[in-house]
């Protein structure tokens, strides 16, 4: 395209790419930004990017406060005499009638732009009400402070503990192993499904594909045609009877339905590996056979080592599928201690009604992060895998 690389053309290309890149990156960045905010800053209008902490001097000590509102017109900040808790009221200065406020004194005369602040309500302090005050803007010290503590709290409440218990402000109720679980349970379950599934998928599909690609036997081509045909069947068709099969096997409620079938091959991966195995020169097998090698040894010591790239592709995509799967766990898992991360995340969201956005985003980040890390370590395998699976089918 050298003849067309005028600067206007390049400018347009980079402009478009840059704009689209921002659009595609925004949601995940927003997820992260939300996950480290205190709850009230997730609902600010207009939205803000960075988590901030505001501090003012209240009653002689620096405390963290929420900025509730700005004072709009000249006002009076009234404090009721003798009320220890500090009963306050903000009234307009214009037309102020002292007679209506018998027993109150004027503690401050806020100007427009002053902040009405509330001591940040900490669930640990339950014995007294949070203090409130009005302060001039320059009395507020603001700094950026990510709330990393959202993460442990979110993960703990995902397991069934209340946010208050997770934050340590209320006594924790007894842990019931039948209905309660911890984040580590979910992570462990997910890893079991992923690791056993990946092992099964790689081993079984390689063995099976070898039988289709490198051996000649009666019925092979018919069976392979049948194998390809099963790729046409959408999952909903299998869903109901499969549930029955797993129920009869006694697998419902366990992790088995999520990884055990991978040990019996899958049509698409068989197809993919067969394509690759067929490209390995037959002479290699012949030479080994003459040396007296068994078919299994030829498979294990010649064909498999030469096929590492496709093994990596199958492993990677199976891992991703198992990590991301929601419908499978939804169908077969019934008790919380057996949940995978995906199901636990959905359960967390549906139980807390979706207002603790900072906690939801923190929990979501935790399920996304491994996928992102995996992607950056295995980018080449990903791209090669998609490109081959996409164009060869």
């Amino acid at each position: 395209m050298t003849s067309r690389s005028s600067s206007a053309y390049r400018f347009a290309i980079y402009g478009l790419l840059g704009g689209l890149a921002l659009l595609f990156a925004f949601p995940l960045v927003w997820m992260f930004a939300t996950s480290i905010k205190p709850v009230e800053q997730t609902m600010e209008s207009p939205p803000t990017w960075l988590p901030r902490e505001h501090r003012v001097l209240l009653g002689g000590e620096q405390v963290e406060v929420n900025l509730d509102a700005r004072v709009a017109a000249p006002s009076l900040w009234l404090v009721r005499d003798g009320s220890a808790g500090g009963e306050h009221r903000l009234v307009p200065a214009e037309g102020f009638d002292p007679a209506a406020f018998e027993g109150w004194r004027i503690a401050a005369r806020p100007e427009p732009g002053w902040w009405l602040v509330t001591e940040r309500f900490s669930t640990k302090v339950r014995e007294r009400a949070p203090r409130r005050d009005v302060v001039p803007p320059d009395a507020v010290q603001t700094r950026v402070r990510p709330r990393w503590e959202n993460y442990p709290v979110a993960l703990a409440s995902m397991g069934g503990r209340s946010v208050e218990a997770a934050e340590g402000s209320v006594e924790e109720r007894a842990f019931n192993p039948e209905t309660d679980a911890t984040f580590l349970d979910f992570l462990g379950n997910t890893l079991v499904v992923c690791v056993l599934g990946v092992l099964g998928a790689v081993l079984s599909n390689a063995i099976i594909a070898y039988g289709f690609a490198r051996l000649k036997w009666r019925g092979r081509d018919a069976l392979f045609a049948l194998t390809l045909a099963t790729m046409m069947v959408p999952f909903p068709v299998l869903m109901v009877p499969l549930y029955g099969v797993f129920k009869d096997l006694g697998w419902v409620g366990t992790l088995l339905p999520l990884w055990a079938p991978a040990w019996f091959g899958g049509a698409f991966n068989i197809f993919l590996m067969r394509q690759v195995f067929r490209t390995i020169p037959e002479e290699l097998s012949e030479a080994a056979r003459i040396d007296g090698a068994s078919e299994w040894r030829i498979f294990w010591q010649i064909v498999l080592p030469l096929s590492r790239p496709v093994l990596a592709v199958v492993a990677l995509f199976h891992f991703l599928h198992a990590w991301n799967d929601f419908l499978g766990p939804l169908l077969y898992l019934t008790r919380k201690p057996t949940f995978t991360l995906a199901l636990a995340l959905q359960n967390f969201q549906s139980q807390q009604g979706g207002v603790q956005w900072h906690h939801l985003m923190a929990a979501s980040m935790v399920t996304v992060l491994p996928v992102i890390v995996l992607f950056f370590f295995a980018q080449k395998t990903f791209i090669r895998g998609i490109a081959t699976t996409g164009s060869k089918s």
């Binding site: 099976i208 959408p234 068709v237 079938p261 996928v371 992607f375 998609i386 164009s391």
Partner: protein
Amino acid sequence: MMHGETRRLLRGLGFTGLWIVGLGVFTAYPVLASLYYSFCDYSILQRPVWIGLENFRQLATDDVFWLSLRNTLFFAAFSVPLGTIVSLSLALLLNQEVRGRAFFRALFYLPSIVPAVASSMLWLWIFNGQHGVLNQALAPVFALWGGQPPAWLGDPAWAKPALVLMSLWGVGNSTIIYLAGLQDVPRELHESAELDGAGPLRRLWHVTLPMISPVIYFNVVMGMIGAMQVFTQAFIMSGGPDGNPARSTLFYALYLYSTAFYDLRMGYASAMAWVLFLFIAGLTWFANRIAAKRVHYAS
């Protein structure tokens, strides 16, 4: 000593034995059983009872069934063409001589591997009518006409468009497939077309698109098959299998799921599954016929 052919057969069966079991237990039996159940009254708690075509007769007059089919077709009719346009455009951009191609490619691809549950949470938050960042950004625009942005997932008219919008974020997978296809288009074709005086748009239309038409065909068919089965996003974002609000996101797979596992009408659900199967097969056959005329397969 065994006969050579028998030995070869046994060896073949030895290597493929796992699959023969897997095919039988996890695919062939379920397919046949599902076909049988579709003619039965079956609740998984009791043995199936043969009722002939009754399930299919009921489907024909089941308003919720038709609604779920319409909802699904709406979703497919928008998400597949829009997704094709977006992912193909991204691939065409990436196929230019740009610096940092690997970076952009990674960025566009990454959303498509984000777990569906997590991305549903994220978009639930972005689409939040009150505090969501999308409406915070749109509110001033709508205010120009004295209006308000839609409540998206809270509004029956906007819930499906919201899901379509969200689906566009995940087109990165097909972008990579398109990009691979574009990189296989021989350079000489472009050069000779350019010598003949064809501008970039004409080259796109007469050289590039015909050359990658098999890839487009593959992506569109896979996209349609996927869209007809959309489940997870709708289940999470509408808070269960009811397709809230007002059944506006009650997709086919959701209705099938709740029929089978909430109402325990497994026979009826199996009939639905077979209707879906036949529908998808019909769509694929139809796409094949179009492809036979329009898709150019390089020799």
